[in-house]
């Protein structure tokens, strides 16, 4: 199964009379885009703005960030199960607008602490386009189309979240379709030989990634994997290409803290494992998508099954594990890793730092001596970014606008693109 990314570099984005891509200049007909988004009758309006690198601009609270991508006809559906039929993805040609992003702001959570009521949807996650925070963020040098879809007041919250998800994908495809008739600047191929083949001597490596944590609840119409809500999901083998090509999007939890669909599409760990594969150092044999349950029996069963798949179906010698946001997913990941080690599959796990007292002994919520290879991206609670006063605030509602305009300082976990649970982060806790 080969996936070819046709990469188009974007250096400039503006609103204009026509939606088109000319060289590296992306022009967007704002009314045409608006009509496209408002196909969803649950929405009564959508605010659309462009935020460019270095601009004095702050947007929040962010629901998700997606890279504009569109599949060439015949290559499968764009965001299957969300925008259209469920078809396999991860193959054919997908056009990418590199250097651009669609950022969706959640307008719907006034009230409660910090301007939001529940931990589902936009939750104190801010896109900062200027200053030190922007320099350190993976999103600071992208051209963002920032959208604030606003639902009719009588639409229930779960439907609002669904509408945000659909709008995010729609906009991403709408923008990238400008590239379908253009020659890309470069192409990247992603292809693996299946688990059965491969060079005998090379270590076989795989990725086990959590794509949701159920401890904060899951809506029945929440799209996560090929459009499914993942309730009751058991570990599912997934080709890495599918992961990168629209089969997986983030869930609504915690504003998907440290996770954005952008880094499923540009998955840092899948990227590294592909690099090992392509350079002949290892045999990348596949990936397994898991969810973290709120029931311990389910958690143990899922951990066992994921380990079994890694061992017996993928014949992996080693796996990299990541978790979703929160404490239960952390425990789940460690149990999965422990089970892998018990079967002789070596593990390396990515954790975030759970220590608020900055002591190493508090940093691991759970200690299992077999799980001895840990990389921590840290949430950087001891790092502070000074924030300038900004000229432009793009906010979901006036309460959040007030909070954001009054900010002088933030920690990395509240800023998009700095502490990232998918492996893009350059933060590391150093033990002194």
């Amino acid at each position: 199964m080969r996936l070819t990314l046709a990469v188009h570099s974007i250096s400039q984005t503006d609103f204009g009379s026509k939606t088109q891509l000319e060289g590296t200049r992306l022009q967007i007909d704002v009314e045409e885009l608006r009509r496209c988004i408002l196909q969803d009758r649950r929405l009564q309006s959508v605010d659309l703005e462009i935020a460019r690198p270095g601009e004095s601009c702050r947007a929040g609270y962010v629901f998700d960030i997606i890279e504009p991508r569109a599949k060439e006809p015949g290559s499968g559906a764009d965001f299957p199960g969300i925008l259209g039929p469920v078809t396999p993805v991860g193959q054919g040609v997908t056009h990418v607008l590199r250097g651009a992003a669609v950022t969706v702001v959640d307008g719907g959570q006034p009230g409660g602490e910090l301007g939001y009521e529940s931990r589902r949807g936009g939750v104190s996650k801010i896109l900062e386009m200027s200053g030190e925070a922007a320099k350190r963020s993976s999103y600071g040098d992208l051209q963002h189309l920032v959208m604030v879809p606003r639902a009719h007041p009588d639409i229930k919250r779960h439907a609002v979240l669904n509408a945000l998800r659909v709008a995010s994908c729609r906009a991403a495809v709408f923008l990238a379709q400008t590239a379908l008739s253009q020659l890309p600047d470069s192409t990247l191929d992603f292809e693996l030989k299946g688990p059965k083949s491969g060079n005998g001597n090379l270590p076989r490596v795989a990725y086990i990634g959590q794509i949701h944590g159920h401890q904060h609840g899951t809506e029945s119409d929440e799209h996560i994997l090929y459009g499914a809500n993942t309730r009751g999901m058991m570990p599912t083998p997934l080709h890495p290409n599918e992961w990168m090509d629209g089969a997986v999007v983030t869930s609504y939890s915690w504003g998907a803290r440290g996770l954005e669909t952008y880094f499923y599409q540009n998955h840092p760990i899948i990227g590294e494992l592909y690099r090992l594969h392509q350079s002949g150092q290892a045999n990348f044999v596949g990936a397994i998508a898991t969810i973290s349950s709120d029931q311990e029996s389910e958690m143990k069963r899922n951990s066992m099954m994921a380990a079994q798949i890694a061992k017996w179906n993928l014949a992996a010698d080693g796996v990299v594990l990541t978790k979703y946001a929160g404490g239960a997913p952390h425990t789940d990941m460690f149990e999965t890793a422990r089970q892998c080690e018990a079967l002789g599959v070596k593990t390396v796990a990515l954790t975030s730092d759970t220590a608020s007292d900055n002591r190493a002994e508090s940093a691991l919520l759970i200690n299992t001596k077999e799980v001895n290879a840990i990389v921590s991206h840290s949430e950087g609670s001891d790092v502070r970014f000074q924030l300038p006063t900004v000229d432009r605030i793009i906010a979901g509602n006036s309460e959040v606008a007030d909070i954001m305009s009054g900010l002088s300082e933030l920690t990395p976990d509240a800023l998009c693109g700095i502490a990232n649970n998918q492996g893009a982060s350059r933060l590391q806790p150093i033990i002194y």
């Binding site: 401890q215 709120d294 029931q295 311990e296 425990t331 149990e335 759970i366």
Partner: protein, 73 residues
Amino acid sequence: MTTEMEKAGIPVAQVTPMTLVAETVGSNRIIRGRSIVHPLGDVDLAPEEEHELRRMLVQRALDALASEDRTTA
């Protein structure tokens, strides 16, 4: 918290859905709670059944307290 109380000599039965965390930290008497969102309850059960479940879990906790051995139940 459990281990500090145990160090002070108080027998503690810990009801938690995250038994692995409790085990690693060294708690001695651990009872598997139903779920993170309702450790001693279950919204999928009818009220009388849920009450019965709670009674059973609390009884397990009491039995664990009475026991002299490390328990995970």
